[in-house]
Symmetry: C2
Subunit: 249 residues, 2 copies
């Protein structure tokens, strides 16, 4: 019986004023797959007909089997992409951070084989699938090629996950994960000096890294006691980046 997730953390309500007033001044503009689009292009479709959405923490954004008609780009907050396992558990495939697209491959009408759920409250920009498809099809060849490349980074990250899960020990996975998240947040301006907001519970790490929560705990505790990281109160701090990098090889 699926249990209703009860969100314990307190988050301020999302104010409409938090939505960007234009794509040109959007805070995540440069982080998105269309980050290279010109100012002029951002006045046209599909951006002209963009809308916004906000989700509470722990809310399902896409269900498995659904055929999404919108492409969400995360403006704020964390979400996760996962599949259900036959034993009742879940495998987290990726975490979605500001600037990431919730369903990049939603061009097709094929039903999703994974689901997407917010972790913190999430605000997102929504582009209509059909409109976006037509607009990108009509774009110059150069933009077209880059659009095809949109999946490139995602794909690479998948490859790395495969290597990670197949070959690395628990410490290596955890260290790599923390460094990876830090790098992504840093690039988005959401981390400085190794410090960043970290809303994940240890169970999230376990479900993503293929470990048990207990073992994640032991690993984190070990890293903390060695002075490589420190954490608490939804904050993560990578204290000794060099040592962590040595662990991941």
């Amino acid at each position: 019986m699926p249990q209703v997730q009860f969100e314990r953390r307190i988050y301020p309500p999302v104010m409409p004023t938090e939505f960007p007033t234009s794509c040109q001044t959007c805070s995540v503009r440069k982080l998105t797959p269309y980050g290279h689009f010109s100012d002029a292009a951002l006045d046209k479709e599909p951006f002209a007909s963009r809308t916004f959405a906000s989700f509470r923490a722990g809310q399902t954004i896409f269900r498995q089997g659904e055929r999404p008609q919108v492409l969400y780009t995360i403006l704020n907050g964390w979400a996760l992409r996962a599949v259900h396992l036959s034993d009742g558990g879940r495998q987290i495939l990726s975490f979605l951070l500001p600037g990431d697209m919730a369903v990049c491959s939603a061009f097709s009408q094929k039903p999703l084989e994974f689901w997407v759920k917010s972790i913190t409250p999430v605000t997102a920009c929504a582009l209509q699938r059909e409109v976006a498809l037509q607009a990108w099809h009509g774009a110059p060849l150069d933009d077209f090629a880059r659009t095809l490349d949109v999946r490139w980074r995602e794909m690479r990250s998948d490859d790395e996950r495969i290597t990670d899960l197949g070959r690395r020990s628990a410490v290596e996975r955890v260290a790599r994960f923390l460094l990876d998240i830090e790098t992504r947040l840093q690039r988005k301006g959401l981390a400085s000096e190794g410090r960043f907001n970290f809303p994940l519970r240890q169970e999230h790490l376990a479900d993503a890294l293929g470990l048990t929560p207990q073992h994640v705990n032991r690993t984190l505790t070990s890293l903390r006691s060695q002075g490589l990281i420190s954490y608490g109160d939804s904050e993560m701090h990578i204290v000794d980046r060099v040592a962590l990098e040595k662990i991941v090889k």
Copy 2:
């Protein structure tokens, strides 16, 4: 010191007559990402300017860091896509079978972060990157959308690999792998009644599944002694599909 792979198996030389004379009658036509293209479309670019290539067993097709200018579609044989690991090993990311594209995401000019190598002798159809890009850009919206979807299956397969490596035991991984390969070959008409040509060594399975060759051996031996599979002489036979499916859950 990298060791020269010596191919011990004997394969007949590839005869030019084995190349398909037209795209319309190509044996893998329906299996490719452009399998839905019309007869007429196959007379135009990029197909009109296609060329062919053949590789010996164990030959490197793409090097890491390379910027491929051609899109290879495998006509015949098996290949693998992999990355080097810092400990000198390799993680096999996927196996490429007839009808698969060697580098589907080669639309960009970004250097490859993996390498591709033939396992058996491989014959392939080569499309020029630039020509293909322009042709697909000019194609009808519907074809365009499907082209974007080309990566869909690949992506799904990546997701499954992540789940697999993160959560399954050795038996589950091996069973799932065999069923997966059989399904793919069946769809391509290269397997019947659970029997198919299987040129992989146990070390290939190990490198793909994140196990040691010895443990792969124990697992295969166990499955064989239980009468679920039988193999030998580059042939694999899934004897008890139902039981295997029960293992993978």
